[in-house]
């Protein structure tokens, strides 16, 4: 039995070939699910302790459990309510490229995962919300959808059952906020993709006002193996409080940037070793554990397991598990400025702290980086970290931007001070 449920099906040459996928056990998980009651599928996923891989790490089984089922999911005339499953494949977190690997290399794995999730919540229509830049993913997913439809795995009365599912690919057009699930729903409805207020939660009132589950691509790709090999097998893959495996990655000035599927709780040091360490002549100065919206950690944190609680205890978030390594030849202030520029540009503009606060932070950081900053600027940045924190903003975008800023101000306080004292960037930026 495999211990790499996510990458065992990776096939770079002919990934959309359904026969090849089936001959290595593909679609068996869905067939097992179809023989069970939907609630039993939900229970199995709950038992597996799978957590969402989009960044927030919410229990997948629990997320599903809020969807009305059975008698509670009927229209006034007694017909079953329309429900939707949406795959969030709007992968735009800087430093994150794991979903692309899965969709390009194993499109049928995602489709099978979506079929299982849709069956578990009783959805008859599913959408893949894919970022527009991922062209190769789009081609391969569409080919795989077409093959699955031709084989009778998608469509009406699948495998002779009462269950029907149609699955469509939606290509977005480039906007980070669409990764926020309520903004994504607005985008799918053809509205400007501002986030929505919660409650009501999408599980009850989502796409077109219907019960809707939005799951990340990697999360869904875990489902086939859970249904194929069981919840216990899955949770025992990791020697950690978190279950299963994870696609970890590292980018930056390392020798061999890339992605690796490892048991949950692998350490950043292990990942860095797989990347053959930093490039010659460079030392690791700091790292973001899971994309641009996570707090900096230091080399002394490299041996902490990359699982949700342990990374949180160290003061950051696991996020997407895509490590970004900062080396000692690049300016931390410059890096934070680049990150904040991204968030300022991608703010949807809906709420004031985010729309006005982020460009303001960019202005101050630009001034400091150019050697024209003052002590007041540092104080102002620290204050703004509070103004844009959770509870002050409409969604998690600005608090995400604050994470590398506040931790950077703490860990790289000396570098910030040097910029001000010496009226210039010590790294020559």
């Amino acid at each position: 039995m495999t211990n790499r449920p996510l990458t065992e099906h990776l096939d770079r040459s002919n990934p959309q070939d359904i026969k090849a996928y089936q001959s290595s056990g593909g679609y068996q998980g869905f067939k097992n699910a179809l023989a069970m009651e939907p609630q039993a599928v939900q229970q199995q996923v709950s038992d597996s302790k799978l957590k969402g891989r989009g960044g927030a790490g919410f229990m997948t089984g629990m997320k599903w459990s809020f969807v009305p089922m059975g008698d509670k999911a009927l229209n006034q005339d007694g017909t079953p309510q329309q429900k939707y499953l949406v795959c969030n494949a709007d992968e735009m977190e800087p430093g994150t490229f794991k979903d692309r690997l899965l969709m390009e290399g194993a499109p049928h794995l995602l489709i099978e995962g979506m079929m299982i999730a849709a069956y578990a919540i009783g959805a008859s229509v599913a959408y893949i919300f894919l970022r527009g830049e991922y062209r190769l993913c789009a081609t391969r997913l569409q080919q795989a959808i077409d093959e699955a439809t031709k084989s009778g795995l998608l469509g009406k009365n699948i495998n002779g059952s009462d269950y029907s599912l149609s699955l469509h690919l939606h290509l977005s057009a480039g906007r980070y906020i669409c990764g926020e699930e309520t903004a994504l729903i607005n985008a799918l409805e053809g509205r400007r993709a501002n986030p929505r207020a919660k409650p009501p939660f999408p599980q009850v009132m989502g796409l077109f006002g219907r019960p809707t589950i939005v799951n990340n691509c990697e999360t869904l790709c875990n489902l086939p193996s859970i249904l194929n090999h069981g919840a216990q097998w899955y949770s025992e893959l990791a020697n950690s409080p978190d279950a299963g495996t994870k696609i970890y990655g590292v980018s930056g000035r390392v020798k061999n940037a890339g992605l690796w599927e490892l048991p949950m709780g692998a350490t950043a040091q292990q990942i860095l070793d797989l990347a053959n360490g930093m490039q010659d002549g460079l030392k690791l100065k700091g790292w973001l554990p899971g994309g641009a919206s996570t707090d900096f950690l230091l080399p002394e944190h490299l041996d902490i397991p990359m699982e949700y609680d342990a990374i949180a205890k160290a003061g950051s978030r696991l996020g997407t598990g895509g490590i970004i390594a900062l080396d000692d030849h690049h300016c931390p202030v410059g890096m934070i400025l680049n990150l904040l520029q991204f968030f300022a540009q991608e703010s949807c503009g809906w709420c004031t702290p985010c729309r006005d606060g982020l460009p303001w932070a960019v202005e101050i950081l630009s001034r400091i980086e150019a050697g024209k900053g003052s002590q007041d600027d540092i104080d102002q940045l620290l204050k703004m970290c509070g103004f844009m924190w959770i509870g002050k903003t409409f969604c998690a975008l600005a608090p995400g931007a604050v994470e590398p800023l506040r931790s950077g101000l703490t860990y790289f306080a000396d570098e910030f001070q040097q910029h001000i004292d010496h009226k210039g960037c010590p790294y020559g930026h």
Binding site: Q82, E91, M92, E93, P94, G95, T96, F97, D99, R100, R131, G132, E133, Y134, R135, L136, H168, H170, L171, S172, A173, G174, R175, Y176, A187, L188, E189, G190, R191, R192, A193, F208, G209, R210, G249, S251, G252, R253, A257, G258, L259, A292, G322, I324, L326, D327, H330, G334, M335, N338, L339, Q341, F342, Q345, E346, C348, H429
Partner: protein, 182 residues
């Protein structure tokens, strides 16, 4: 589920355009196919904008009005969608569009140097098109190929592991082969 009414949008005078006078049969068929995948026609808005852009390189006001007419939705709502996205062009662009990734992993791989070189070679800044109408230069947020940084997207296709020679080679080919409509 009752539909949300939008009184403000309804008050705004809408320029009436008959979509049949503007959009081609091919465009209309492709947009209608997208409409068939959703509960509401307006949901196909982003797809419709992309379909029209694929045919005309950008989305003019006239195209916008025509799409809104075809989808039976307020122009204001569609414009709100069109201006929201980085990959919908509401101004004319060149025969080729370059989106250079400016996010963190590319920044750590010489983004400033690459950006300066591209601008100097093309003689334009970001957001501009060369005088001969050949190339438009834009940035893009993280392209999701951080392991092969620095990267850019040329007419929708990824170009990875950029350096000065590979950029010169790419630009040379663009000038030699002309536009995609040639």
């Amino acid at each position: 589920m009752s539909k949300v009414t939008m009184p403000v949008e309804q008050q705004i005078p809408i320029q009436q355009v008959d979509y049949r006078a503007v959009l081609s049969e091919q465009e209309i068929a492709a947009i209608e196919h997208e409409c068939s995948l959703y509960e509401e026609r307006a949901a196909a808005g982003i797809d419709a904008l992309k379909i029209v852009q694929d045919h005309r390189r950008w989305v003019s006001d006239e195209s916008l009005y025509a799409i809104a007419d075809l989808l039976q939705m307020p122009v204001v709502q569609l414009e709100g969608v069109a201006t929201f996205y980085n990959l919908i062009y509401r101004q004319p662009v060149g025969e080729h569009v370059i989106h250079l990734c400016d996010s963190i992993s590319c920044w750590l791989h010489d983004f400033p140097k690459i950006a300066e070189h591209l601008k100097a070679k093309l003689g334009i800044d970001f957001g501009q098109t060369t005088a001969d109408g050949k190339v438009t230069l834009l940035t893009n947020v993280c392209l999701g190929c951080c392991d092969t940084a620095p990267a850019l997207m040329l007419d929708g296709d990824l170009v990875e592991n950029l350096d000065i020679p590979s950029i010169d080679n790419m630009l040379g080919k663009l000038t030699a082969r002309g536009g995609k409509n040639d």
